[in-house]
Symmetry: C2
């Protein structure tokens, strides 16, 4: 069954995989780009830019937030999101070190 096999892998691999999953949909990469580009932490503006329904965008935002890649604060009837640079940088380093590690341990093959 499609059961929690994921948990049998190392915490590091799980963490990196979770981060990768967060950015494994073009809509979420587009959202991150919009968040970085706009001066303010938009919300409904994202809906206008993306070819997706409001509820769908809200769901993607939730996933990015759960992954820790963005922060969200409530401002009246609207929500203000922005990139969590700290954790984003952490994941960036984590990913970079995967590549570095792979290269280091490599010993030519095929």
């Amino acid at each position: 069954m499609a059961f929690h096999k994921k948990e049998e892998f190392s915490a590091k691999d799980q963490s990196l995989a979770a981060f990768a999953k967060a950015i494994s949909h073009p809509a979420r990469i587009a959202i991150l780009t919009v968040l970085a580009r706009k001066n303010e932490c938009i919300c409904g503006e994202i809906v206008e830019i993306l070819p997706l329904a409001q509820s769908t965008v809200s769901q993607h935002l939730k996933e990015l937030k759960n992954a820790g890649l963005i922060n969200g604060t409530v401002d009246g009837p609207r929500s203000c999101y922005c990139i969590n640079w700290k954790s984003f940088e952490k994941f960036n380093a984590e990913f970079g070190s995967l590549f570095t590690k792979l290269k280091e341990v490599n010993a030519k093959c095929c």
Copy 2:
């Protein structure tokens, strides 16, 4: 419906998302690590190391291959895999530039 909305995003975002998806499962990260570490391009050895059935590992290998992250060559009754460093490096750069780009266009918020 869960329809091809993905195709409405930029080619670059789609490409990066596809790469992220390829490494969005700890088993696949573990496979990449094994492939990099072992001197030879293992195959069934991976099955022994991972807590997964042979058919499942074979499927993960297929996905990594489809994503272009590994190469596979048939050697008698067995298959020999190794990391495709060229495309892996390409994706690494692509990912790094996402982070760089986000930082560049950013203009403080929240």
